[in-house]
Structure formats: structure tokens, C-alpha cells
Symmetry: C2
Subunit: 286 residues, 2 copies
């Protein structure tokens, strides 16, 4: 009994977890927030794009009259590094059910000048105020049970550089999309995984911003290697996720001219499609 209580207390809780602490922004003045970007969410040395979205998402939630991101469009400008950053937000429009804002994250060059890393436009609302009506025709992804999926960490590292983020995520890949880690990519532009936070913190709309950009690139299963930088990523959050691990399915159908799209779907434990995203990314054709 005492052990069970301790285990429960050790689990991350929404609002009191590493993810919450590492995305916390400090309001310096209206429209200006400071943050020290954590080295804990880096992949191959660069700050993960989904973590950045969550950071900007919190700054916007602190700026707009609505608290939940409904649609966030991000254009990635330069690679972010762990360390100090400033976020400048702007209220574009406020309405009864939706409000729209803009946010930019800046870091500093060697001479102390601000360099913009990422700019987003976002429309926020109240997920809990939406009607219950669901007429979704989409089906949850076919993915084996969690205990039959694999941790990509167990294979050889496909990208050099430290990837601290893998320690903070519970990511279990569908064996059918794990060929790249074993040297035999499937040739299909698909990646599927179970997703959660490693400390057991349940997911919320903010964690969905992280989930849509947390899997290995589909490009790996297409036989490409190396960095696949995001140019633009837009995510729609459609529902507050139920507790428990999420299923994330990513598909690429159009690899051409050195670019590809990644379409992500995120499903919760109640079989609800809770988020959709699409990104445009650059690839090195080889």
C-alpha cells in the first residue's frame, strides 16, 4: 500500500512534471516571455520541433483569452539550441469561441543580437466547450499492442549527436516500421508508435504538440538518412486526450523535388482522433 502510494507520487502529473517545468515560460511583461530551452528535449543536438511548439503554445495560452490550441501553424526559420530564449506574442483577434495569436521565439547570436528561430500563427478555443458529436470515418492505426512494439533506442543510432529526448519519451515503434533501425527500410513512407511521457505524466493538448513531431522521420523507412529539417508544421488539436498512451501514425505520400510531407494522426486510449498534423520537410536525396 505504502509502495503503491510512493509509485503514484513518483509519476509525473499534468502541471507537475519535467515536461511542464521545461515548457514553463516566465512573463517579463505583457507579450514578452522568457524561457531557458532545456537540453533535455534535443535530438541530434538540436531542440526538438514539437517541444518548441509546446513552449510557444504555453506563451500563447498565457496571452490569449482561450487556453486550448485548436490549430497552430509554425514556420521553422533557424535551428534552436538549448539555452536562453525570448518569446514575443501578439494578439491578432479575440472572439467568443476562438481567438488568434502570433508568437515568435528568438535566441541570441555571438554579438547578442536576437535571431528568430520559429514563428507561429495559432487559433485557440475551449476544447471542453465543443459539442460531443463525432462522425469520424477515420480508423485507428493498425499497430500491435504496446508490449509487442520496440524502443528505437535498442537499435543503432541513425543520427549522430546526443538525443536526450529519447530518455523523456515513452516511444514504442511498430515492428513493421522499424526496418530502418535494422538496416532494411520497408520503402514505405510510414512510421507508427505508441507515445507517452517517460515519467508517466498523462498527455494533454500541450503534449499533443510534442507528439506530432516525436517519431523518427518517415524518410528513414524510405531509405534516406540524415537530418530532415521541418520547414513548416501545422497541427489541429481536436479533442482533449483520455489518459493512457497515445498511438501516433505518420504517413508520407509525396517525396519529390527534395521535399516531403509528413501527415500525423494521434489517437487516444478511447479510440478518439485527438490531433492531426502535416509538415513540409526537406530531405537530402541520395
Amino acid at each position: 500500500m505504502a509502495e503503491a502510494v510512493t509509485a503514484q507520487a513518483a509519476r509525473g502529473a499534468i502541471g507537475d512534471s519535467e515536461f511542464d517545468r521545461d515548457t514553463a515560460v516566465v512573463r517579463r511583461e505583457p507579450g514578452v516571455h522568457d524561457i531557458d530551452l532545456s537540453a533535455g528535449w534535443t535530438i541530434a543536438g538540436a531542440v526538438n520541433g514539437g517541444y518548441l511548439l509546446a513552449v510557444l503554445g504555453r506563451a500563447l495560452a498565457d496571452t490569449l483569452p482561450h487556453s486550448d490550441p485548436f490549430t497552430v501553424s509554425a514556420h521553422y526559420l533557424t535551428a534552436s539550441r538549448p539555452g536562453p530564449a525570448v518569446i514575443r506574442t501578439d494578439v491578432v483577434r479575440t472572439g467568443r469561441t476562438l481567438s488568434t495569436g502570433q508568437a515568435s521565439l528568438f535566441q541570441y547570436d555571438d554579438e547578442g543580437h536576437e535571431v528568430e528561430r520559429i514563428r507561429v500563427l495559432a487559433s485557440y478555443g475551449d476544447l471542453d466547450a465543443l459539442p460531443d458529436d463525432i462522425r469520424t470515418s477515420a480508423e485507428p492505426p493498425a499497430i500491435p499492442p504496446l508490449d509487442r512494439c520496440f524502443d528505437a533506442q535498442d537499435g543503432p543510432a541513425p543520427v549522430s549527436g546526443s538525443s536526450a529526448i529519447v530518455e523523456r519519451l515513452m516511444l514504442r515503434l511498430d515492428p513493421a516500421t522499424l526496418g530502418w533501425a535494422l538496416g532494411s527500410p520497408s520503402g514505405k513512407g510510414e512510421m507508427r508508435a505508441w507515445f507517452g511521457l517517460a515519467d508517466g505524466r498523462d498527455t494533454d493538448p500541450l503534449a499533443l504538440l510534442l507528439a506530432v513531431d516525436a517519431l523518427p522521420p518517415t524518410a528513414f523507412e524510405l531509405g534516406l538518412s540524415g537530418w530532415v529539417p521541418t520547414v513548416e508544421l501545422t497541427v489541429h488539436v481536436r479533442s482533449r486526450p483520455a489518459p493512457g498512451p497515445l498511438r501516433v501514425s505518420i504517413t508520407t505520400r509525396n517525396l519529390a523535388g527534395g521535399y516531403l510531407e509528413e501527415d500525423a494522426e494521434v489517437w487516444d486510449s478511447a479510440d478518439r482522433l485527438v490531433a492531426q498534423s502535416r509538415q513540409l520537410a526537406r530531405v537530402r536525396l541520395s
Copy 2:
């Protein structure tokens, strides 16, 4: 022979057509463009969202060092009306292969104050500089030949109000997605059509911005009626379209909580997937 020459001259040409004249922006000063939004591109009295994208796209092309939209993310704030508008653009970042800009379109309220209609973030590049490599796994939509598709104008108007845009588009709907016009929607979130400009002007990247938001809403085939306002729309332009009519396929998989997504694919006459878009729109559930 004389007749053939006359017919050729009467066709719209890229740069010299109604679409080009109606999207032309006049630079007042750096970063500020004026336009009189044409009543010719209205649907149910409101200015079409794709026409607005094309207008903003031209202002950005006149602002950024690159001329082709690669990815444009638009958040729609208030409904635009025909008449004067001002566009304010901002260069966010310029790079060798991509540059990023922001644009807002404003109109005026009764007291002459500016009201923002739409704000976009966009990354531009040079489509002609991309490598030829294509590994697309997507298949062109199954749509009957153009002469076996139908003009939605021939059916009863599903939305009241003037819809001048239909006279300016060559839009021929797949009979399989035309049930709504005949009073028996299919129940599937699909809409497919052949698309072109009515005056025969060939399509270009700017016209692709129009094409992704030109079909009747998929909501009609889901049995819903009335206005489906766009909250956010992001389009990726992946290739300069070949001459000839385009095929546009739109799919909705997740209608829930009063919102739906519309995923569009645009294919050219050379069977190339030239654009992809996704929008989040509001529906009135009935």
C-alpha cells in the same frame, strides 16, 4: 485561320487574364500594397478564401526574394467583402533557397478603422530550381473523364447569395460526389472535380492557391448544409503545374465537435501531385 487566331487571343494567358488583373496588388510603399477585392470571386456574397490566398501570395512574391509559394499558412479572422483592402507584408527571414514572410489583409469598418481579415505566414522558394527526383507513392484520384463530369451550377443552388466565382471557374464535379446537389448526399466526406479557369488561362502556382479552396465543401456530401467557414488553411505547392485542367480531390475523415478537416490534393495533366492542402473549418451540426 483568322478564327483560330481570334479564339487563341480570346483565351486568358498567364499574366494577362481576369485572374491576373483581379489579384494584381499595387505597391504603395515597401511592405504596403493596395488592392480592390473583386466581386467576381465571391461565393454566397463572401470573398472566396482561395482568391484571398492568391492576392496575399502576389503581395508576398513582390516582397520576398523568391517568387514561388512553397508553403502558405493562413488564419481567417473575419469575412472579406468586395472593395478596397490594404496588405501589409513583413520579411521574416531570407535564405539562399527559402525565404519566409508574413502578410495581413485589412479592410475598413464604417468608421474607417482597419479590420484584419486574414493573416498568413509563408515560405517561398524557386520551384524551377528543385531536383527532378520523384518518389511519390500517392495515386491520382479516380475521377471520370472531364466530359462525364458535371457543372454544379446545373443543379439547385445549395447556398443562397450571389456566387460570381462559378462563372470564372471551369469546375466539373465527379458524379460520385454530386449527390448533395440532387438531394441525396453520399454520406462520404469526399469531393472531386476537374478544375481550371473559365477563360482558359493555364494554371500556375498562384492558381493552385485558388484551386485548393474552390470546390463545394465536403460537408455537403456529409449531409450538412450552409456555410462552412475556414479557420485555418495551409497549402504546400510542390511543382509548377503542366498546362491543362487539374484534378482536385478533397477528403474529410474527422468531423467532430463542430469542426472538420478538408485535405486537398491537386494533380496536373502530367499526373504530378502539384499541391496538397489541409484546412480546419467549422460546421453547424444538424
